[in-house]
């Protein structure tokens, strides 16, 4: 069991997708059940991994290798370290909640679940894959289904033509779902192109024998090569993590996407980007990471405050949440850039915490949108009267996003800030902290405008609270927010185990590279 558990986790969504292919498209019940079961098996697998991961031993566990293309040194190597454990749990939770949240979907559920499950299999794959090439492969699999998911089940939007690039509107339906889906796909794949280049550079610099990430991490690469490859990986993976200025797919994409897709995408997929930067960029190329850390950190701090300030003036609820994701992913990247124990723990924990929090957010936004048929915040008001449960969970998610103690978001942000401070990067930490405060401003403002005050007006006549399985999604995520906010060590210990293994090498590199870093900054 133990050695195949990771295979089970990765394969179970795939298998569920295959089984769903065999079910006739009009039999919604079995399709949903299969989708749910596929995700739950993965979640149980993730829990199994968490229970059986030996923290004292640390390192990679549950390892298994399937030869794939020996000629190029490509093997399917699955293994889990502490980070993987945390992120597997996250993915399992979000996917389970996501499949519950989409239980009310009636438009072509068959294709929907197939794509969703394929996507999530890719995500699981990335988190446990220790072969750089297969890592990339899973990464692509995780990214691509988004196109159809947004295209088919997405909602329409419109952006008025203006600004210096007005000519674009002649040919592109800016804000529309086709546009959003296409932009998301293309921008992320441009990022993939950069990753590909970086990956090849690493592969050939290591002798062109193997893509084994563990071996690659032990290889010492020439400093010049690290200095140019790292930014490729940073921007390549970063485009998925919403690194400024490559974040612009995110608001449109999230706004257009259907509920479960937004949940998975903001909740899990964006983490792949940050995870890639850390797992591939920083661990394999420590000197490059150390040299570029100031830039990464500065951009991350910009992300935090820029995303938050942008979110503040959004009128469309999904855009508010989408920009908040941009902002929070900045916290992850900031933590990564600190190259400090607490910073890294915080970064990974923020992936986890933000994943759950934003998953809950998007689930709620989906519920509101489904009932109100509108996402236009200024027109709302007083919704708490008719949907108190949704209001409560929305507040909970909002509190986590602004870093309220007792919620998972606090632990993450606190660790990141502490790490930034410890590593002497006060100049990034302060904008990031202010960004966290701005989060409080816009989240509570949105809560106030939607749920509080008079109302709801006649326009919203068929509002009602969450129903049946929808509660399931909300409770799972809400419980996780509080649970992992109050008992962070449930996950943090795993994360810390892995961080403790990776960081010394980075710290050594950082010590040796300091002058170069200054040059780059200059």
């Amino acid at each position: 069991m133990s050695e195949h558990i990771l295979s089970v986790i990765v394969a179970s969504p795939f298998l569920a997708a295959l089984l769903i292919m065999l079910v006739p498209g009009d039999r919604h019940g079995p399709i949903r059940v299969l989708g749910f079961v596929g995700s739950v098996i993965s979640l149980l697998g993730a829990i199994y991994v968490a229970l059986h991961y030996d923290q004292a031993r640390g390192g990679m566990q549950f390892g298994v290798v399937y030869p794939f293309i020996p000629r190029f040194g490509i093997d399917i190597r699955l293994a889990a370290d502490g980070w993987s454990v945390a992120l597997l749990l996250l993915t399992g939770i979000i996917m389970t909640a996501g499949s519950l949240a989409s239980a009310t979907l009636t438009n072509r559920p068959k294709e929907f679940y197939i794509l969703l499950l394929v996507l999530v299999a890719g995500v699981f794959g990335v988190f446990v894959c220790q072969d750089l090439f297969i890592f990339f492969l899973f990464y692509e699999i995780a990214v691509l289904p988004m196109y159809l998911l947004i295209g088919i089940w997405g909602s329409k939007g419109k952006v008025a033509a203006a600004g210096p690039f007005k000519a674009v509107w002649r040919d592109l339906d800016v804000g529309g779902k086709e546009y959003a889906a296409m932009k998301l796909t293309l921008m992320l794949l441009v990022g993939s192109a950069a990753i590909l280049v970086g990956m090849f550079a690493i592969y050939f610099a290591a002798g062109g024998k193997s893509f084994d990430m563990i071996a690659l991490a032990k290889t010492h690469f020439p400093r010049d090569m690290q200095l140019w490859v790292f930014p490729m990986l940073w921007l390549g993976f970063g485009s998925l993590a919403g690194v400024f200025p490559f974040h612009t797919w995110s608001p449109d994409g999230h706004a257009a996407a259907p509920t479960a897709v937004s949940m998975l995408h903001a909740g899990v997929l964006m983490k792949l980007g940050a995870f890639g930067v850390m797992r591939v960029g920083m661990i394999i190329l420590p000197e490059g990471a150390a040299a570029w850390a100031p830039v990464v950190g500065a951009v991350a701090a910009l992300n935090v405050i820029y995303g938050a300030v942008s979110a503040m003036s959004q009128k469309d609820l999904k855009y508010v949440i989408a920009y908040s994701s941009v902002s929070h992913m900045g916290v992850v990247m900031l933590g990564a850039a600190t190259l400090d124990t607490d910073g890294w723990n915080g970064a990974v924990y923020q992936m986890f915490a933000h994943g759950i929090m934003t998953g809950l957010f998007f689930a709620l936004v989906g519920l509101i949108y489904e009932r109100a048929h509108s996402r236009w915040v200024p027109s709302m008001g007083g919704f708490a009267k008719v949907m108190p449960g949704v209001a409560a969970f929305f507040t909970l998610a909002g509190l986590s996003s602004l870093g309220m103690p007792g919620s998972a978001g606090f632990v993450a942000e606190f660790l990141v800030f502490a790490g930034a401070w410890k590593s002497g990067n006060i100049l990034w930490a302060i904008p990031a902290m202010i960004g966290a405060w701005v989060t409080a401003v816009y989240v509570l403002r949105a809560t106030k405008m939607i749920f509080w005050g008079d109302g709801p007006s006649h326009e919203f006549h068929d509002l009602h609270d969450a129903k049946r399985v929808e509660w399931g999604a909300l409770w799972i995520l809400g419980t996780c927010i509080v649970l992992f906010g109050c008992a962070p060590r449930l996950v943090l210990d795993f994360i810390g185990t892995a961080t403790g293994e990776y960081l010394p090498a980075i710290a050594k590199a950082a010590a040796s590279i300091a002058p170069v870093a200054l040059e780059i900054v200059k």
Binding site: G163, F165, Y306, Q314, P405, M433, K448, R489, G496
Partner: protein, 599 residues
């Protein structure tokens, strides 16, 4: 059971209650049963706090410490309970006032719909947990957790009437302002962590001045010191018992408690203490001035709270921790009493406005009496509670040579007595308004807490000695010239108030003369500035959002679109004429031919 067990009981019973009535939705919806459970929880908590204190100073003196690793194993980021005289006493004060307030709420919120009542008591229990978390904090980290949580509950309770736009606005305003101040706490915290690798109350660090300044910034927010006091008056949108508990007796005093707790840190930072002394004294004076001109009884008390917190902060700034802490305790009792008393007046006339009251003393002798007791305690009339603690503060200022703050506090003392007299006169005596005619005394559930608090407001001043013993300070009351002067000033203030607002209605010239000042104060400059700042923030947000949409994203769109345009341009070459196609071939042949021959 050990002390720690009792403390844990005091801490977690309210949490359990909150979770129970909060999550068991049908129970919460029934309202009153949930409320009773909550009260029971508070009583258990109070009893536990009592047991802790009963354990005696012998056990508490060395400090009982029980922690568990929170973020990591080990003690650096631990949470748990730390019991010593300071925390044990505070625990008792908090649970006592909270219990009173909860019992009082049973009557006060009697007419609320059951689900709302259930929600209210969930918040109340949660608050007790949060406050106890802060009080029992073994280190600054847990203090911060509690600190933020009480802020959260404050937000929720201010916004209890969330359908009322003004309440909604006040709730978010309170949260934003205090959260902004909390950035200071966070910065102080991470600095301390970066410097010492932990969050100990007793940490020694060269960065102490910075850390404490940052902490004090947070205190300014939470304890409503100028200019971050702007949220507190608005917070009166919450139900009156909430104002009594959170925004008068306990939560706002958390800042003071924090400084008391972190005394070892603040001892290393003379600069911070000076800043505190001046900020506190200024706030005390300023808020007292504002209180004079308020027409809303809760606003008067709110500004009075600001002012009294200024006293405490100033005392701590002078380095006399005990004076501040003592005043915190006495203030907790009499201010809670005042608010609850005001609550029963409000309850009777269904209005906060002083003009809707008047002559209530005759209708409501009990409430009137306790309110007057509270007012006298606040004014510092001997031998009520406020007398002892306020004198101690003035004496401390004098002792440490802080003469300017001393002067400010003295004037504030005068104003305090003056506005409380004004309030008493306007609300309880004078001509009854139309609304006041049907006023009647509240039920026993509201009277009982008032009685308890009134007793404490009268007698708490005599607890100074035991309290000092408990917290390891020396204190014995003795008459001093400064203290006497303070009391005298207070008495003058009462006299002045009686002269102007009593039956005589004298001092018309003074009233006229100060009218412009009153108008200016009511204009609320700081509030307006905050509104402007908020507007600017939204405007910046809109600009950034526009830039993001049309410049940053525009550039991204453009970089894709330009490929489409290039493709279209290239299409023009594909003319459809086959000879043009051969042209392309011929051209390539010529170019390649030339290249081949020339290279």
């Amino acid at each position: 059971m050990t002390l720690v067990t009792w403390a844990l009981l005091a801490l977690f019973v309210p949490l359990g209650v909150a979770a129970f009535i909060g999550l068991v939705v049908p129970l919460r919806r029934t309202g009153r049963p949930a409320a009773l459970i909550s009260v029971a929880g508070a009583l258990v908590s109070l009893a536990s706090a009592g047991m802790v204190l009963a354990g005696g100073s012998a056990a508490l003196k060395p400090g009982v410490h029980a922690t568990v690793g929170w973020l990591t194993a080990g003690t650096a980021t631990a949470v748990g309970v730390h019991l010593d005289g300071t925390s044990a006493w505070m625990l008792l004060v908090v649970t006592l006032v909270a219990t009173c307030v909860q019992i009082y709420s049973l009557g006060y919120l009697h007419d609320e719909p059951p689900p709302a009542l259930g929600r209210y008591f969930t918040y109340q229990s949660l608050f007790l947990f949060a406050m106890n978390t802060l009080v029992l904090a073994p280190n600054l980290l847990q203090a911060f957790l509690g600190w933020e949580l009480v802020g959260l509950v404050s937000y929720l309770l201010i916004g209890f009437y969330f359908r009322k736009p003004s309440a909604a606005k006040a709730a978010v305003k309170a949260f934003w302002v205090t959260k902004f101040a909390d950035l200071g706490f966070l910065i102080g915290l991470v600095t301390l962590y970066a410097q010492t690798g932990g969050f100990e109350w007793t940490a020694v660090t060269p960065a102490a001045t910075f850390v404490t300044l940052m902490l004090f910034f947070a205190v300014m927010g939470k304890s409503a010191q100028f200019p971050l006091h702007i949220w507190l008056p608005d917070a009166m949108e919450g139900p009156t018992p909430v104002s009594a508990l959170l925004h008068a007796a306990t939560m706002v005093a958390a800042g003071v408690f924090l400084i008391v707790r972190a005394e070892p840190l603040f001892e290393q930072a003379a600069l911070t203490r000076d800043v505190m002394a001046y900020v506190g004294a200024f706030t005390a004076l300023f808020a007292a001035c504002v209180a004079v001109v308020q027409s809303d009884i809760k606003k008067v008390l709110a500004y009075s709270t600001c002012s009294q917190l200024g006293y405490m902060v100033a005392a701590l700034g002078a380095g006399d921790t005990f004076a501040g802490y003592f005043h915190l305790s006495t203030h907790a009792f009499f201010k809670a009493l005042l608010f609850l008393g005001a609550g029963s007046l409000i309850h009777a006339v269904h209005s906060n406005e002083l003009k809707d009251m008047g002559g209530l003393f005759r209708k409501m002798p009990f409430s009137g009496t306790v309110f007057v007791v509270g007012a006298l305690a606040l004014a510092g009339v001997p031998p009520l509670a406020g007398f002892f603690s306020k004198d101690l503060i003035l004496e401390a200022m004098h002792h440490h040579g802080l003469h300017v703050p001393l002067a400010a506090l003295a004037i504030a003392a005068f104003l305090t007595a003056f506005y409380m007299t004004r309030t008493v006169m306007l609300a309880l005596f004078g001509t009854p308004s139309h609304a006041a005619e049907h006023a009647h005394e509240p039920g026993i559930d509201m009277k009982l807490p008032l009685a308890v608090l009134a007793l404490l407001a009268v007698g708490a001043g005599f607890l100074g000695g035991p309290l000092a013993g408990l917290t390891g300070h020396d204190y014995a009351f003795h008459f001093t010239p400064v203290g006497g002067a303070g009391t005298a000033i207070g008495l003058v203030g009462i006299g002045m108030g009686y002269f102007m607002f009593g039956p005589a209605q004298g001092g018309a010239a003074i009233k006229r003369g100060f009218a412009p000042v009153g108008a200016f104060i009511r204009y609320g400059l700081m509030d307006r500035l905050a509104t402007v700042a908020y507007g600017i923030m939204l405007a910046v947000g809109a600009i950034i959002a526009w830039i993001d949409r049309y410049v940053i994203d525009g550039l991204m769109n453009w970089s894709g679109w330009i490929l489409l345009v290039l493709g279209r341009r290239l299409r023009a070459l594909q003319t459809g004429n086959v000879q043009d196609y051969v042209y392309a071939v011929a051209l390539a042949v010529v170019v390649f031919g030339a290249w081949g021959i020339l290279r």
